[in-house]
Amino acid sequence: MTRPAVSPADLARALVALRPGDDRTRAAVARVLGLGWAEPEGEESGGRGPRGGAGQAADSELRRPAPGPPRPPSGSERDDEVPPADEIGDEKATDEPIPTRLVRTRSISRRPPEWLEQAEPLARPGDVVATPPELPPLLRPGRERGILSVAARTGVSEGDLDLERVIAAVARAEPLRAVPRRSVPTLARGVQLLLDRSDAMLPFQGDLRHLERAVRNFVGDDALEILSFVACPGRRAGSGSIRRWRPYFPDCAAPRGSRVLAVTDLGIGMPATGPSTAAPGEWLEFARRLEAAETPLLVLTPYPRERWPPALALSLSILSLSRATSAGNAARAARDRVSRGTP
């Protein structure tokens, strides 16, 4: 059972335990909890306004001293401006106003009101709209982090002891030359994100930027390398100007054990032939070399399974970027590689 998120209940606990002496301190406590602070309507700061019986009962409940952690012994340098709990008189305590209206600033700051989402800002005369509006992300926002983190992991043999393999070896009286451990998924080996910059991916440039940000958020800068390519990364890849791109093997190869995520349309949006189109065989060769280097490839494509080139659908680990995609889909796509007998 997980504990609920920080809520006004936590403010109530904090107010009882800390017994703040003024509204400024109460507001500071609320801010630490991520809650806003508003004066109750019709009441002045620090004053006692009319309240109903229920409110008074709640107040007296709030003011009851609660057992708290032991206080450290007082020293010569202690902050003596605040008297210890047992020296604060009852009268002073009961004079303290208790807030009757709490406002969550977190939710306010993160979620604009509905009317604002639907409102279209008026264009100022002469204004030129330089950037297109942000499109909704391909993956469902609530699932995105989970899907991408599952997709980006690789397995490392650093888990619990693999008892089945140990028992099998012991039963055959074979010496254990290495400790067999279960595979655990991790991002520790890093991620290489390959972004397809071909013309067919132009409609998805905003999605590429969004994916880049999303992956960076949970992988971290140190463990993430982002490269661009056209058609197939096996040709050339790199960052910055296309003139500085270099052959993927060996110049851009990812460190052993890291995950390679390629965001591409697999040539679906391009003519079947041409310099900007990679034949399925080219992708398969690229995937084979990555597997040999123990840097497993997972292709993320904005097109549904029905449109994937049949030769690739059967042989590559592919995940569709759509609202219907789940973390389970990502896990299965990543596992497909294992089921085909690759390392």
Binding site: V6, V16, V32, P69, P70, R145, G220
Partner: protein, 337 residues
């Protein structure tokens, strides 16, 4: 004093001195900073710790490297007189590392040597949260009768970090989970149940580790923000950001660490790192973190290096190059954010 500068008025269950000084000269001499840490507190830090204690929520401490996030946990444990445990997270850390693990390799070895103990209990290794929740059961790996270990751990105060436990409150603890952003994204979420309910089960033995809310540990979690934390985790934490220090605060921190140091060394080192003193900018944030400042003072004092000497110029240039800052003393010590 303006109304905004006035001290906050509340009952502090955690009420440190503004400057918590080292009380043991031995600790300073041996470099043991864990047992007797120096810390210069601010009102927001004290308030956040008090709110975390009152609400029994984990305190997520943000801030740059060297800002004093980890040492805060040690200092809080010292001030409260509570036991102290820490776990430094790495990219390979799993939530179970903080709860309990089973030493299957040792069990395998015992099996091959015909010395296999009955059950899994003797092979259980308690993690820092187990020690913090229930030190007595951690001593016995859960079940005293089943443990059968001659561990000498009958004293419930005993634990892997005995040096920070001696003479402290046996039922309360401060736990530092350091640099949680280094861990895989699942790790924070996997800690939600143990940190929220103050209990967890040892999967291999079924033993339930639990503590009461009254004995709940204070858990401080630090992040350098290399990765974004899961929203579900953030919603359950009290957050504290340790901001960049001002020149005034840095000097105060230096004086707290080296009360015997005179101005002949402290002032030139400060000027060398931060540039000439400017009263009008004394309260602006600076781009030198406290750990770096204190370490520089310690090195200069210990090695007899005076600012302005050839050694000092070489040291300062190395530091400047490392962090991509301008040369100290050339007005480059200011934070240029």
């Amino acid at each position: 004093m303006t109304p905004d500068d006035a001290p906050l008025v509340y009952v502090k269950s955690f009420n440190p001195s503004r400057v918590e000084r080292r009380r043991s000269a031995e600790a300073a001499e041996t470099g043991d900073l864990r047992r007797d840490p120096v810390y210069v507190y601010t009102d927001p830090i004290v308030l956040a710790v008090n709110v975390a204690l009152a609400t029994r929520r984990p305190l997520l401490v943000r801030g740059r490297s060297g800002a004093g996030k980890s040492s805060l946990a040690r200092s809080v444990a010292h001030v409260l007189g509570w036991r102290y445990y820490e776990a430094v997270v790495t990219s390979r850390t799993q939530a179970s590392d903080l709860l309990s693990q089973v030493d299957l390799l040792r069990r395998l070895q015992d099996a091959r040597e015909g010395a296999l103990a009955e059950g899994m209990t003797p092979y259980v290794e308690p993690g820092p949260l187990w020690w913090a929740f229930a030190p007595k059961s951690a001593c016995w790996r859960g079940d005293r009768a089943e443990c059968g270990l001659e561990t000498g751990l009958e004293d419930p105060n005993q634990n892997p970090e005995a040096a920070t436990v001696e003479g402290r409150e046996p039922h309360r603890a401060v736990v530092l989970i350091d640099e949680i952003d280094k861990a895989d994204p699942d790790v924070p979420n996997n800690l939600l149940v143990p940190l929220g309910s103050f209990q967890f089960q040892v999967a291999e033995t079924g033993f339930q580790v639990a503590t009461t809310p009254e004995r709940a540990p204070l858990v401080l979690i630090t992040t350098n923000e290399e990765r974004e934390m899961p929203a579900a985790f953030l919603r359950r934490c009290i957050e504290l950001e340790i901001e960049l220090p001002t020149r005034r605060r840095l000097v105060e921190i230096g004086q707290a660490h080296f009360p015997e140091m005179d101005g002949d060394l402290l002032d030139p080192v400060t000027s060398a790192l931060l540039g000439p003193e400017d009263p009008q900018r004394e309260d602006e944030p600076v781009d030198v973190n406290p750990a770096e400042f204190v370490d520089t003072l310690r090195a200069c004092e210990g090695l007899g290096i005076q600012p302005g000497s050839a050694e000092w110029r070489a040291l300062s240039k190395a530091t400047v190059w490392k962090f991509g800052r301008d040369e100290p003393g050339a007005g480059g010590g200011r934070n240029r954010r």
